[in-house]
């Protein structure tokens, strides 16, 4: 890299999306060029001056409203009073997490339970242990539920330290995912060992259960947006149990239950202890061909428990990890490159799935790079199937896209499935990244 190239890319050093390669090249140049290094350091000094060191957002979250409430009334708060009855007020209030919005709502004041309180209670916990029983299969990904399967144990542990999250999600003798705050590792013992970066999202939307605030938030949002939602509350001396039943479409749960295609309605029962408001028990039922089937239930939820970091981050010995952050070797066939780099995610998903169905995996060698060790299994799995009705969904938490499709089995049964594809590689080729 020369000085001109460095200057052209100088802004990238202040971006959140700089490739490791560019960063290494720029660092190497700065090591030999004092002028460029001085230019970067001067700008970095400005950036350091501009970067926020005191977060009003976090300070606000831990403030106690009762003390603050009279002050708020004194302030010239004028505009949103005009729209107090509108959905907009609720929509913003719940998202901002501002308790005073709810204190002005007769509906919320009359309720003995507030999702807001439950969310606040779990927001600042340092560690979290959730033992679940889930109807799923040991080796399947975490977004897969099977209403016909027996319950199996899933243990989720999370530790937060200095804004870094360390967690482990483990199916008993099955698929396990570990995050050491930077890298994520996912393995199925003896079958698959994958290593990914911070955006790997191996847990997919099952991450909702790793973050109880999101789970509660999602229900709160559903409650506010759908007037016809069913919600019941039961109160004992020490607990409050709230059961909500709602349509999954439009909520984060819709991605979780994508493989159970007939699922339209989900029922979640949350039990919180009083007076701390902490979520202590969780049950999830889905509507399965007209029948209500329990698919997730908690056995134990504990907060601020002592978790041994070494055990939390323990990885299997002698595993041969496929490093997803390394990418694939550049494609040298220009014609094929031109063809593949113009593909839409739907085109790519169709090509990959057709290659698996026909057994001609050469048609998708590049896209199946991370699955090369399990291709015979995949080909067998898709033998005689048909795929149709492709739609794309993007989510902020994932660097790639999800392509949903209808899979028709040889016996005529259909189900909605998805593949995760990403093209954040040098040649922008769509690679299969999960879901299969």
């Amino acid at each position: 890299m020369n000085c001109n190239e460095f200057k052209n890319q100088l802004a990238d050093l202040f971006d959140q999306e700089i490739s490791a390669k560019t960063w290494a090249e720029m660092k190497e140049h700065m090591a030999t060029c004092p002028d460029c290094r001085a230019e970067y350091e001067a700008l970095k000094e400005v950036a350091d001056d501009l970067l926020p060191k005191h977060s009003p957002v976090q300070e606000k979250q831990i403030e106690k409203t009762p003390v603050e409430a009279p002050q708020i009334d004194l302030r010239p708060r004028r505009r949103w009073m005009n729209i107090a009855a509108s959905v907009a007020l609720f929509a913003v209030g719940l998202v901002l997490g501002s308790n005073h919005f709810f204190s002005e709502s007769a509906q919320a004041a009359a309720s003995p339970f507030s999702f807001e309180q439950a969310i606040q209670s779990v927001r600042n916990v340092g560690s979290y242990l959730l033992q679940l029983q889930v109807r799923t299969l040991p080796d399947e990904n975490y977004a897969h539920f099977d209403p016909h399967a027996d319950f199996m144990d899933v243990t989720m542990q999370k530790q937060t330290l200095n804004d870094h999250d360390y967690w482990r999600v483990e199916k008993k003798e099955g698929r396990t995912i570990v995050c050491d705050s930077r890298e994520q590792y996912m393995w199925v013992p003896g079958k698959m060992y994958l290593k990914g970066g911070p955006q790997a999202n191996f847990l997919e939307n099952f991450t909702l259960f790793l973050e109880p605030t999101r789970l509660l938030n999602m229900q709160q949002m559903a409650l506010q947006l759908h007037k016809d939602i069913q919600s019941t509350t039961q109160v004992t001396d020490s607990t409050i149990t709230v059961t909500t039943s709602f349509e999954v479409d439009g909520t984060e749960l819709s991605a979780i239950f994508n493989n159970t295609s007939s699922t339209k309605v989900v029922t979640i029962q949350n039990t919180c202890s009083m007076p701390d408001g902490l979520l202590r028990s969780l049950h999830v039922w889905i509507d399965w061909h007209g029948e209500k089937v329990e698919i997730i239930r908690s056995r134990d939820i504990q907060y601020n428990v002592a978790i041994d970091r070494d055990s939390l981050l323990l990885l299997p010995a002698e595993a041969d990890w496929i490093d997803l952050t390394q990418g694939i070797a550049p494609l040298k066939d220009d014609m094929r490159l031109a063809l593949l780099s113009q593909e839409t995610p739907v085109n790519a998903a169709q090509r990959i799935l057709q290659a698996l169905i026909s057994g001609q995996t050469d048609e998708a060698t590049e896209a199946l790079h991370y699955y090369k060790d399990v291709l015979p299994t995949l080909v067998k799995m898709f033998e005689g199937c048909k795929v149709s009705d492709f739609t794309v969904r993007r989510e902020k938490s994932y660097a790639g896209v999800f392509v949903f499709y209808t899979l028709t089995h040889p016996d005529g049964k259909t189900e909605t499935c998805h593949v995760a594809l990403r093209n954040d590689n040098q040649q922008h080729l769509w690679l299969l990244d999960g879901g299969i």
Binding site: A11, E17, P56, L96
Partner: protein, 162 residues
């Protein structure tokens, strides 16, 4: 009211809550005004008719305008000597408020189009690619506005550093 827009807006608010409030805070200097600005923006958008293609960009822009209105109104009330603003003055001595004033002073030295890119980068935690999409600008323009702005602030800082 457009229910699709409402749903998209709630999703946007949910995923960007912290960034939005921080962005608005570094425009108004007061947390509660930041909340007001975000609410104002939501109300305005929900009453719009017709589709909004770039909702995120439009939303941040509307929040920015709401912040400017709030700050102007506050300044007007201050000059009118409204007693209620004593409360606001009381808030001005915490660490965030001092930091806000210092940062605002730095950003006021450069054109708004450059400071907006810097605000979105540092306070809304957006990548340059995100900012380009939000402001509907070429990526190269976003990066050059960022660098020009930063360089100008660097020059104005230099005498003080020396």
């Amino acid at each position: 009211m457009n229910s699709d827009l409402q749903q998209r807006l709630v999703q946007l608010l949910e995923s960007e809550r912290k960034q939005l409030l921080q962005y608005a805070c570094y425009r108004t200097g007061v947390m509660q005004d930041a909340e007001d600005a975000v609410q104002d923006a939501v109300t305005k958008i929900l009453h719009l008719e017709g589709p909004i293609a770039n909702l995120r960009g439009y939303f941040y822009q509307t929040v920015a305008h709401a912040c400017i209105d709030i700050v102007r109104q506050r300044q007007r009330q201050q000059t009118e000597g409204i007693e209620i603003m004593q409360l606001w003055h009381r808030e001005q001595h915490d660490e965030f408020s001092q930091e806000f004033r210092r940062i605002n002073e730095m950003l006021s030295q450069i054109p708004e189009e450059q400071s907006e890119v810097i605000r979105l980068r540092f306070y809304a935690d957006k990548s340059f690619a995100d900012i380009a999409e939000m402001l509907d600008l070429p990526l190269a323009t976003v990066k050059s506005r960022f660098l020009y702005g930063m360089s100008k602030m660097k020059k104005s800082l230099t005498p003080k550093i020396n």
